[in-house]
């Protein structure tokens, strides 16, 4: 007989094992209170070395100018803007998990949202570097801000998509940071109240803002989270839409298409989830959090990857079709420079196609979705593919311009261009290592909140009312009014 509580048979517990509230705290705070492991130290050192190499590469660019990069006559945007779009895209999965899935009441987001949001913030930090240093005279970067100046005042052009980007990225970074940190407050207080060492008590005392757990504060905190989620949802869609406007509002064949906003947003979520997989598969293993980031979580994210990967695939094919169907010779030429393997960058296009469209189709198989090694491998493949997507869009659209005499220059990056990119990896992983050492990588309070509903040891417990069978309940209450 069916009981009153309906639950889908395929729904797996979100927290595995016998857990109490205290055990949850213990499990998640343990890595913070323990000494850093050898693996952590090695990883952190390597990241910092990458970061330092990046700093040196950027130093070269600032001192000697953009000539340190191999940008040339037709290719004004090369690796730098490719990397910018790539990093911004990666950030999108964090906001999708923390905001959009909150609005859709997806319980599984709880295990992964904190780390994914942290990833968003670090990725946007990396992304921001590229347009800023691409300016060349980086000390004049503040010219993009509309402030009353002594040149008229001469204002910025509010109709320019590049300026929209300034506003979109800075707003995105600020709002993500606020959302992330306001969610962290209660968990930092948990760490503070358990701390034995004085320095730890003091440090987390400052970080936790004096959070006490008052019912009124929780009520406001919930309202705040909900509204911030509501604001972040259109925000995250707008950010990559505006990034795509950088291309779509131009008149370059290959960029000037209306399909760009949805195509870019889907691609962003696609690459973002791949990066979340890369990070979390390692994190759950190293920090011993397999009970909280379960196979169920990994599988659900793989489903998102196959969905968004296929959306991106449809976008690619639509673009190709329109370049033929539209009968615009310039558009057709731009796309021929992509799909024709005999052109200089044809390889990049087909690499992108196989990584982004063909490879994720393996995730239709449940066995492969639940295979950690395969998922990890695929997450790298997808990120490589998505990098090449941006590279293909940017470089193949501009390397052959309207003047055939400038066609011969093949664009390959210099070591400093690559070094800058490596440096942002250093920045990203340095931040992530620090985060995983000093902050709770899983939202403790949120896990406790769902523990008695979705925890393995509590799923069987039902209230008296819930145990009631549908037939009996209907019989008792059918004519109550």
């Amino acid at each position: 007989m069916a009981s009153l509580r309906y639950e889908s048979q395929v729904r797996q517990p979100l927290v595995v094992g016998e857990k109490t509230y205290h055990q949850v705290t213990e499990d998640i705070v343990r890595p913070i209170e323990a000494k850093p492991s050898k693996l952590w130290k090695i990883g952190f050192t390597v990241s910092v070395m990458f970061l330092l190499f990046g700093v040196y590469s950027v130093y070269r660019e600032v001192v000697y100018g953009i000539g340190e990069w191999n940008l040339n006559k037709t290719i004004g945007w090369g690796w730098d803007i490719t990397n910018f779009v790539w990093w911004v895209g990666i950030g999108h999965a964090g906001t999708l998990i923390s905001a959009i899935l909150l609005l859709f009441r997806q319980g599984w987001r709880t295990g992964v949202n904190r780390a994914a949001e942290a990833m968003t913030i670090f990725a946007v930090m990396c992304a921001g570097q590229f347009p800023i240093f691409h300016m060349g005279r980086v000390w004049m970067a503040f010219f993009v801000l509309p402030y009353p100046n002594s040149r008229g005042p001469l204002w910025v052009n509010f109709s320019s998509p590049l300026l929209w980007d300034v506003f979109a990225i800075s707003t995105y970074f600020t709002v993500s940071l606020l959302f992330w940190y306001s969610g962290l407050l209660p968990d930092l207080a948990t760490v503070r109240d358990r701390a034995k060492e004085k320095w730890r008590k003091r440090m987390y005392g400052v970080l936790a803002f004096g959070w006490s757990g008052s019912t009124k504060h929780w009520q406001r905190h919930e309202a705040l989270s909900l509204v911030l989620a509501g604001l972040s949802t259109p925000l995250v869609l707008s950010v990559h839409t505006i990034v795509s406007f950088d291309f779509a509002t131009s008149v370059i064949p290959g960029w000037h298409t209306t399909i760009f906003p949805p195509y870019f947003v889907a691609g962003a979520i696609f690459s973002g989830f791949a990066m979340v997989q890369t990070l979390l598969i390692i994190t759950r293993k190293v920090l011993d959090l397999e009970d909280y980031i379960t196979m169920e979580h990994i599988e659900v994210m793989n489903k998102v990857i196959v969905l968004t990967g296929s959306i991106v695939g449809i976008a690619y094919i639509t673009e190709l079709f329109i370049s033929w169907y539209g009968q615009n010779p310039y558009e057709a030429a731009a796309f021929r420079n992509r799909w024709d393997l005999s052109t200089p960058y044809g390889w990049a296009y087909w690499l992108m196609m196989s990584c982004n469209v063909i490879a994720p189709q393996f995730f239709w198989f449940r066995k492969l979705r639940r295979n950690l090694l395969f998922t990890f491998f695929m997450s790298i493949i997808v990120n490589v593919g998505m990098w090449f997507e941006r590279f293909v869009i940017i470089v193949t659209s501009i390397y052959r311009d309207y003047v055939p005499s400038s066609w011969s220059t093949y664009y390959a990056p210099t070591v400093w261009e690559v070094g800058f990119y490596m440096g942002t990896f250093g920045l990203f992983f340095t931040c992530f290592f620090l985060f995983s050492k000093f902050f709770p990588v899983i939202a403790i309070a949120e896990i406790k909140h769902i523990l008695k509903k979705n925890g393995e040891s509590f799923k069987e417990n039902m209230d008296e009312e819930e145990k009631d069978t549908v037939e009996h309940f209907a019989h008792e209450h059918a004519h109550a009014h």
Partner: protein, 198 residues
């Protein structure tokens, strides 16, 4: 600075906490607050707290952002320095939408978080008296404020009957102050004479 006396009871199950809050309120005790490690839906209603107006504040901040962006951009393009950019209109509303939207979100989010921190008295270096260290771990801490009419013993017994596990009486500063969590509170050591009732 209000230094007061509190009867503190800890509960280890939210199912016991709910009826206990109801009973305590019915008996006429003044609940100072209930501290919980995670949000418990419905507890605010049981405690008789009114709904928060933070959403309204967020809305007001949001429309402030909308107006700021629209007025500022129109003023710049039409009044202060009407540049001719390729003969394009001076009031291109569609082109203003992205920045207007971003500023709406920015004002709303920043405003709401600042308001939240202000009304909850949250800030770095702020210190509060915490009635139980496990209130952020696994216990639900109910704190009753002693007024001149409260009989402590009676209140303690009442809490015990309602299901509280650990019960004690604390004299504490009810507000926040600047302090450090690695140092003992000296604040209320000087002011115990001001305790409402002993």
């Amino acid at each position: 600075m209000a230094i007061k006396k509190f009867v503190v009871g800890s509960f280890d199950d939210e199912k016991v906490l709910f009826p206990a809050v109801k009973k305590v309120r019915k008996a006429g005790y003044k609940i100072h607050d209930v501290y919980t490690p995670f949000p418990i839906h419905g507890l605010d209603a049981v405690m008789g707290l009114r709904d928060t107006s933070l959403h309204t504040a967020g809305f007001i901040y949001g429309i402030t952002g909308t107006t700021t962006a629209l007025t500022f951009m129109s003023w710049v393009f039409n009044k202060d320095w009407p540049l001719n950019i390729g003969g394009k209109p001076h009031f291109p509303l569609p082109a203003f939408i992205p920045i207007t939207f971003e500023l709406t979100v920015l004002f709303s989010a920043v405003g709401m978080v600042l308001t939240f921190c202000y009304i909850c008295q949250l800030a770095p270096f702020v210190k509060k008296h915490h009635f139980h260290a496990r209130a952020t771990d696994d216990l639900f801490i109910m704190v009753l404020e002693c007024t001149s009419k409260t009989n402590e013993e009676e209140a303690k017994n009442f809490l015990a009957a309602a299901g509280a596990k650990e019960i004690n009486v604390q004299v504490a500063e009810a507000d926040w102050w600047l302090g450090r969590y690695d140092k003992e509170d000296e604040l209320y050591a000087k002011g115990t004479t001001e305790v409402a009732h002993s």
